[in-house]
Symmetry: C2
Subunit: 409 residues, 2 copies
């Protein structure tokens, strides 16, 4: 019999009514002739409530990471019990399992644990007895029986890891979007939903602002070769399947386009070209917990170089402040900053085998009068920084230039 793992996020189980819908869907899947394992997140809002309480009893909950895990794990434990009850109430047969009961063993890194091993024996027994097995996402246990949580995107990770360990025939990640699109449909109305996407493409798109899945879960799927489908929990339409790349995928030059807004650009100009200067700059920035996205360096003459990088706009004042003494120390000529910029990325494994992708992108933006401020490329992605006010138009132009639009009816 087919074995299907279905993951439902916090919004999908956000109320009693939605929980009943999920239960009905699980029963329907089982009755279609499959064994069913469900992975469930905490009801939306619950984790935030728990974090708020934690903040009230302990101004620095970071000193109690073990307790934070014990606390947060209750969110998923509540929702799995409710989902199992709802299945039973609808005449189905369900049993809930915590991460620990489900055999999900992790390392000891509380609040950001890594799955080290899964023992799927109990789940296998239960599904073969006809149970819909409802597993708590986001959590596991150490070999000593301590409760751990997997950090952001943890429930997706649980689903993919279980699908891998169980050798599932399908892993379906239910979310509030229909799948992965060639571009944000709010920006590009004729954006198309992809039928499939390579793991690497999804990773680049996630890193570039398309928040469909957390990168950790996708990386895990890639590492263990677990295909999964991202689809909507509200409709019945097929979603987008993420899987290992196939030869035919390379026929598509560009898979998708992403825009990340509210970025800021910082340039340290006239930096003496000596070993260790870049390290000095970025260790100072990361020590302040500011996330750096793109980094571009180009030498303007023999002795000095310009280093530019992008950060989130909100981090700009703090970063400018902390870089002033650094600039002095390393002998930089000046610091230039610009907020109100956006990053546009085009992603596709096809660009490995298709020449001229970058040229086509630059041409299309140039013809549209969109000025490019920074360029950064990887094997399957080209990212450019542009004025934020040009972002929508740039996305529309690029989408058309690479032929990503829906075919006309």
């Amino acid at each position: 019999m087919r074995l299907i793992v279905q993951k439902y996020g916090g919004t999908s189980v956000g109320s009693a009514e939605r929980i009943r819908n999920v239960a009905a869907r699980l029963i329907e899947t089982q009755r279609s002739g499959a064994e069913v394992v469900a992975v469930i997140s905490a009801m939306s809002g619950v984790t935030d409530q728990l974090l708020k309480l934690a903040g009230e009893v302990s101004p620095q909950p970071s000193g109690s990471e073990r307790e934070m895990d014990a606390l947060l794990a209750t969110g998923e434990q509540t929702s799995i019990a409710l989902v199992a009850m709802a299945v039973n109430a609808l005449g189905g047969k369900a049993i809930s399992l915590t991460g620990a009961q489900a055999g999900i063993v992790t390392d000891r890194a509380h609040t950001r644990a890594k799955i080290s091993n899964i023992n799927p024996k109990l789940i296998e027994e239960l599904v073969s007895e006809g149970f819909i097995v409802v597993v708590a996402g986001f959590q596991g246990r150490t070999v000593d029986g301590e409760t751990t949580t997997l950090g952001r995107g943890g429930s997706d990770l649980t689903a993919i890891a279980l699908a891998g360990a169980l050798g599932a025939d399908a892993c379906q990640i239910f979310t509030d979007v229909d799948g992965v699109f060639s571009c944000d449909p709010r920006v590009v109305p004729d954006a198309t939903q992809m039928q499939e996407i390579a793991y690497d493409e999804l990773l680049e798109m996630a890193g570039a602002g398309a928040k469909v899945m957390q990168s950790r879960a996708v990386e895990f799927a890639k590492k263990f070769g677990v295909p999964f489908e991202v689809r909507s929990s509200f409709g019945r339409k097929a979603g987008t399947v993420a899987k290992e790349e196939t030869a035919s995928m390379e026929d598509v030059v560009i898979r998708g386009i992403t825009i990340e807004r509210k970025q800021a650009k910082i340039t340290m100009a006239g930096v003496p070209d000596a070993p260790g200067t870049a390290s000095r700059i970025f260790s100072a920035v990361s020590a302040a917990n500011v996330l750096v996205d793109m980094i571009v360096q180009n030498a303007s003459d023999q002795k000095t170089t310009d280093i530019s990088f992008t950060i989130h706009e909100g981090d700009l004042p703090q970063t400018e402040e902390l870089l002033r003494p650094v600039a002095e120390e390393i002998g930089a000529e000046r610091i230039a900053t610009q907020s109100g910029v956006a990053k546009l990325s085009v992603v596709g494994i096809g660009m490995r085998s298709h020449a001229g992708v970058a040229t086509r992108l630059f041409d299309c933006l140039g013809e549209g009068g969109v000025n490019i401020q920074l360029i950064s490329t990887s094997e399957i992605k080209i990212a450019v920084v542009i004025e934020e006010r040009d972002a929508d138009r740039a996305a529309q132009l690029t989408h058309a230039a690479f032929g990503l639009a829906k075919p006309a009816l």
Copy 2:
């Protein structure tokens, strides 16, 4: 070093501020030179919220008792993590344990499990390492690792059972009352707080309307000889110690007086005095889940008998209804009912060795013009049914007659 088990109920941990207070108290107890194990209930209101959600997803959650336990156990798991965090935030050193982690093994009777075994090894290790060990009340696990809950009063039971298994030097049950009183101080202003009470007396008082502790927890303490102190979590005053009876306890004729209001009395009159009639009546009543309190039978002639019993007033219409066909079947002459009655009980192991207690009670009520409708006695309790409007006055008269008042200053 002394080992102290402290139990805090839902009201004591009902908000972040109260959780911090409990944490401070635990640290203070440890610094006074003791090893400390805390048993914590769910924050007040949380269990009701979970039950409400369960009712919304499943009209008959009784079909999912395993899931109900998994659901309800999260309430205590949340509060122990928060208490442990709060202790850590105040500079203490705490660790939370679920019932399962604490080694509390139960039978498989979900929602009303009995503790079958406690393995206190982990707790002993942790307290000897200087941890304040914060254990989830009300829950355990089966030998197969399934989560179970202990039913009403379960957290008190956890505390007493742990105190027994650990050989604790003290077990303190913190509640919102100062201790056990000779009568309800709202009715009898000069009621005194007892320093000590025998398990049996506390059991009779609990059964008679003084809702200090659930009977199951007291019975457990009696069975395993675990003394415990009921005291307030808001003040610093000593409470009431429940323990095995001592010779000196018998010097006190009456320990306390309780009143239970909103009772109703039903009399089946002229019932043929044949084997099985009482059984027929009470099996019909209990099948409808109506709790019967006092039962009194007295034969009025050779051939027939009158059977009277008390129930909660709210159950009267339903009970009257269901008894009509039963009365016909067994050939009873008539059914008489009366609502608006109350039960007054006097409790004390001293009445075993003091003659005339009943007489003194009846005299005092008679002199006060309080009419007695039913009498029922046990070895250490005398209960009478009276008009509810006489209840307060009857309690005051009895309290004075048995010399229970506070000594004048």
